[in-house]
């Protein structure tokens, strides 16, 4: 009798119902959480890529448009490596250097997925993109359509988020974020 009266605890039916409810709710909760994280990753990456891409494009545009006086093929920029003084069609390369009005030189070049800014005022080049961001196909070139017109600088680059191993691609659609930038700048001087 003592054993029969002690009816504390759950019946089998109760346990089955509870487990069934948990089995239904947990997967949906996980699916929702997973969806949110995925979306956040995508937005974080695409906005970071866009932020750095905009920064690089603006920096190059402003410095070249406002400061550059002559265009040079290698660093340091001297009178011996001036290019684009005559009418030329664009032949883009991965680096270009400029002299400003105070005879200081500055320039931009691509090396191992990083655009770096070098200048006679800098001890060492400065990387313009952070290490999780990769730059590909950076091409900068100059063209001159007429002898007495100002030169145009063409800039092209692809910027993407590093999905691991210096790659832009991934099997997961939320992981890749690649943007293309291009512009042509008319030099002022």
């Amino acid at each position: 009798m003592g054993i029969k009266k002690k009816l504390v605890g759950f019946t089998l039916i109760e346990m089955i119902v509870v487990i069934a409810v948990i089995a239904v709710t947990l997967p949906s909760i996980f699916a929702i959480v997973f969806g949110i994280t995925r979306q956040q990753t995508k937005i974080y990456r695409i906005s970071k890529v866009k932020k750095e891409g905009d920064y690089i494009l603006n920096l190059l545009t402003n410095t070249i448009r406002n400061s550059a006086v002559s265009i040079h093929s290698s660093s340091p920029a001297t009178i011996f490596n001036v290019i684009c003084r005559i009418v030329v069609s664009p032949a883009p390369t991965t680096s270009l250097y400029f002299l400003d009005s105070t005879n200081n030189w500055f320039g931009y070049s691509l090396a191992s997925n990083v655009i770096s800014s070098s200048s006679s005022n800098l001890a060492s080049p400065i990387a313009l993109n952070s290490n999780k961001i990769l730059i590909n196909n950076f091409l900068i070139g100059c063209e001159k359509t007429a002898l007495f017109s100002n030169a145009n600088i063409t800039i092209n680059f692809d910027i993407c988020y590093d999905t691991g191993g210096k790659l832009c691609t991934s099997v997961r659609p939320e992981e890749f974020a690649t943007l293309h930038y291009q512009t042509i700048i008319r030099m002022k001087n």
């Binding site: 029969k4 009266k5 009816l7 504390v8 709710t25 949906s28 929702i32 969806g35 949110i36 979306q39 956040q40 995508k42 937005i43 695409i46 906005s47 866009k50 891409g53 905009d54 494009l57 359509t145 145009n152 063409t154 659609p173 890749f176 690649t178 943007l179 293309h180 930038y181 291009q182 512009t183 042509i184 700048i185 008319r186």
Partner: protein
């Protein structure tokens, strides 16, 4: 007799109230989550669309740096403006893009530009770029406007 004396369980009303509250809570949580997920998706598309619009504007500006005479010839209308479909960054498609959205991965955006020459002879050109995409059952768009002039 043993079962009747056992009063530790819940009554039907209690269970119903509890299940209702739980159900309401879950419905609210799910609707908030889907709403925020949808919002995040829209924001992602807005970021990408803004980039496409800016890319288009940069291209238009670079076209203007090429040859002003050729550039103002792109507005063939007399005052009302000319539209181009600018999906591929060239002038080959006059008019709107239609219901195709080839830009982006996966393809879901289209880009159109409207040019309008100002003054005679033309000294300024109004540019309006509209990048649009379909979000659920509505069309969303990012318009950006700019003006380029002869002297700048």
């Amino acid at each position: 007799m043993v079962f009747i004396k056992n009063k530790f369980g819940f009554s039907l009303i209690e269970v119903l109230v509890f299940v209702t509250i739980l159900g309401l809570f879950f419905v609210a949580a799910v609707s908030v989550t889907t709403f925020s997920l949808k919002n995040m998706k829209i924001n992602e598309h807005k970021i990408i669309a803004t980039h496409f619009a800016e890319e288009g504007l940069e291209w238009i500006k670079s076209e203007k740096e090429g040859d002003w005479g050729v550039f103002i010839g792109k507005d063939t209308s007399s005052g009302s403006g000319t539209s181009y479909c600018l999906n591929d960054l060239n002038w080959s498609t006059i008019g709107n893009c239609g219901e195709v959205y080839p830009l982006g991965t996966p393809s879901s955006f289209k880009r159109e530009v409207s040019l309008k020459n100002i003054n005679t002879p033309t000294s300024e050109v109004n540019i309006e770029i509209i990048v649009s995409w379909i979000e659920g059952n509505q069309t969303m768009n990012i318009p950006i406007k700019s003006v380029v002039n002869l002297w700048e």
